[in-house]
């Protein structure tokens, strides 16, 4: 007969409660690992699915995922002249937080280089890619917008035409895909009054300038649209992305562009590496630290529980010794209970995790490899936790039965 199981069956409530507690702790440990994997996947999903081989960003910067990167949209035209490249596009990305339907809507505004890029590469769960140059968006499911919903951003309404999933920025906010023109309009939208004041100030500056006095027509120009003023550059973009044509050597093409002093170029791998080593790395260390602490806590809690369970049985253990039970039988009793609590906790964590993790606000990815490692940790945990109880049980004298 198995003494460990007999005891567990007799004290079922207590064991179940303990296993549930340990299970919840293990679920958090598991979740921490899953959150890290999720961060990694989220961070790289956009870069991987956008299908660009080269990222041309503001000179000296680490690109739009790491910091603010601004390059003139004219760089796109220059990149087009480089042989061996196809699919040269502008890339625009910035985060906004607006009110929509009475709640805060935080999203990454992502510009697609219309008309070459209509978002055909975005994995859609509903709807369609963009089909016109303005006022349409494809949004990530996490933004909670329905197909056909209208969102007011700046001075315009945008209609949701497609829904994607898993597309989030490095901050975990859902991405909304606009055309680059719309994205710029949202980014550089200013209230009418601000435009009016800016035009007046511009006129004032021109009036004071000798040039303005000599050519009065400049004054008319100065109060016109910004786009109509030759001296003002069109609004910048975050980056220009391009694919390398089949047969061309990405490294060679990259080296060519790298010679331009005003921009910096990254390959896709470098871009991913930057993402991972930047913000994700810190999160990894942070989460790793928490996992270690939690594992230690769960070991201590288990050790204490196993210890008290053993203390409760100490008279029975003395009796077993008096009857001549071998140490192995007594160690087995305690160790098996510890392993059982750990094992049930682990299964519970797995089961609860399956249920709970998909409901987490950010992606949690549980990989089989991680589960295996955790199983190993739990076994080690249980063995360590039982040591205290075993030590106590070994030290009890059979004559304790008589007292």
């Amino acid at each position: 007969m198995n003494l460990a199981l007999k005891d567990i069956r007799y004290n079922l409530g207590r064991f179940v409660l303990t296993a549930v507690g340990i299970g919840l702790l293990l679920m958090v440990v598991m979740g921490m690992g899953g959150i890290y994997r999720g961060l990694l996947r989220e961070a790289t999903l956009l870069v991987e699915s956008i299908g660009a081989d080269l990222w041309i960003v503001q000179g000296g910067s680490r690109g739009p995922f790491a910091e603010i990167s601004r390059i003139p949209s004219s760089v796109e035209d220059r990149v087009r002249t480089v042989p061996g490249l196809t699919g040269v596009r502008r890339f625009l990305s910035h985060t906004i937080q607006r009110e929509h339907g009475g709640r805060q809507l935080r999203m990454v505004v992502q510009g697609l280089s219309w008309p070459e890029d209509r978002g055909q590469w975005i994995p859609l769960v509903a709807g369609r890619p963009l089909s016109q140059a303005h006022y349409e968006i494809v949004v990530d499911r996490s933004l909670g917008l329905e197909l056909g919903a209208r969102v007011r951003l700046g001075k315009d309404d945008y209609r949701v035409v497609g829904i994607t999933s898993g597309m989030v920025g490095t901050g975990g906010d859902g991405i909304a895909f606009f055309t680059v023109g719309d994205a710029q309009a949202i980014q550089f939208d200013v209230p009418a009054e601000a435009t009016r004041i800016e035009r007046l100030l511009r006129r004032g500056r021109v009036e004071e300038h000798e040039l303005g006095r000599l050519t009065p027509r400049l004054l008319d120009r100065a109060v016109g649209e910004a786009a109509g003023i030759p001296a003002l550059a069109p609004p910048p973009v975050s980056a220009v992305i391009a694919s390398v044509a089949p047969g061309a050597d990405p490294a060679q093409v990259a080296a060519e562009i790298a010679r331009w002093p005003d921009v910096t170029v990254y390959t896709r791998e470098q871009q991913i590496e930057l993402l991972v080593s930047g913000m994700v790395d810190k999160a990894k260390r942070q989460l790793g630290l928490f996992r270690v602490v939690l594992v230690i806590i769960s070991t201590i809690i288990m050790a204490l529980i196993i210890y008290t369970l053993t203390l409760d049985k100490i008279h029975d253990i003395a009796m077993l010794k008096l009857m001549g039970a071998k140490n192995g039988a007594i160690i087995g009793l305690i160790l098996q209970q510890s392993l059982l609590i750990g094992g049930i906790g682990y299964l519970l964590a797995w089961w609860l995790g399956n249920y709970a993790f998909p409901r987490f606000p950010r992606l949690v990815v549980i990989e089989p490899g991680d589960m295996l490692v955790l199983a190993g940790v739990v076994v080690l945990n249980s063995v360590l936790a039982s040591l205290l109880g075993i030590t106590k049980a070994m030290s009890v004298e059979p004559s304790k039965v008589l007292s």
């Binding site: 007999k6 029975d316 071998k326 059979p398 004559s399 039965v401 008589l402």
Partner: protein
């Protein structure tokens, strides 16, 4: 004449036990000697604190004497506090204990409490269960075999404990006031059972008891006083001259 090693079940040679040390020193027993043949059943009487339990647990290899020797089946197993054999294995294979309290394992039911003693000794579980049920039957508690100790009366628990002590057919049974929790009928029955086990299995039995009505089942009566053992006469409980 037979070899004494064949007929002697247990021999205590000048056992002394001193508890504590310095000015808290207490003499538990003093130069106690006793030989018990196979199939012999003896009673141990004496006032409280006289050292009966000390002596019994020393014989049971759970309370090592300060000096003196214990021989079991012709083999010296204790030399002073020094263990000369694996005492745990010895207890498992050759000794049976019954105490005033039943000391059953609370998470095992009645038959499991009996069977566990056999399983610890390597008896296959089906066989152990079978014999456990037989013993419980014999002791009149087979109808409670599936109940846990907390569902049994004190007397029922004690009978399960007796069954457990007999489970491995021990060569030496040590009982410390085993019938204190039983009514006189059941108490007598247990004493007769010990006698029967002694006769039929050749086990040596030492019973500490205060129950003078059952003294007729014993071959000899010993009395302890202030840690000293002396042989008494059946039917009387006052000290006779030391051997």
């Amino acid at each position: 004449m037979k070899n004494p090693a064949d007929t002697l079940a247990v021999e205590a040679l000048s056992l002394t036990k001193i508890y504590g040390s310095g000015n808290t020193e207490v003499v538990g027993m003093k130069e106690v000697s006793l030989s018990l043949g196979k199939g012999e059943i003896v009673a141990l009487l004496g006032p409280s604190g006289s050292g009966k339990s000390t002596f019994l647990t020393a014989l049971g290899l759970i309370n090592p004497p300060t000096s003196g020797q214990i021989r079991l089946g012709g083999q010296t197993v204790m030399d002073g506090p020094k263990e000369l054999v694996d005492v745990r294995a010895y207890r498992r294979q050759h000794l049976g204990f019954v105490f005033q309290k039943a000391n059953l394992i609370p998470f095992l039911n009645a038959w499991e409490n009996v069977a566990v003693a056999m399983e610890l000794n390597g008896v296959p579980s089906s066989l152990a269960k079978e014999r456990a049920m037989e013993l419980l039957e014999y002791l009149g508690v087979s109808d409670r075999a599936a109940n846990h100790p907390n569902e049994l009366s004190g007397g029922q628990q004690q009978r399960v404990a007796v069954a457990r002590a007999l489970a491995n057919r021990p060569s030496l049974i040590l009982a410390d006031e085993p019938t204190a929790a039983l009514d006189s009928y059941r108490g007598r029955q247990v004493m007769e059972l010990f006698q029967k086990v002694a006769r039929e299995q050749g086990a040596a039995v030492v019973v500490v008891t205060h129950d003078h009505r059952s003294l007729d089942v014993f071959d000899k009566t010993y009395e302890m006083e202030d840690g000293k053992l002396s042989e008494g006469i059946i039917g009387s409980h006052h000290t006779s001259s030391p051997r």
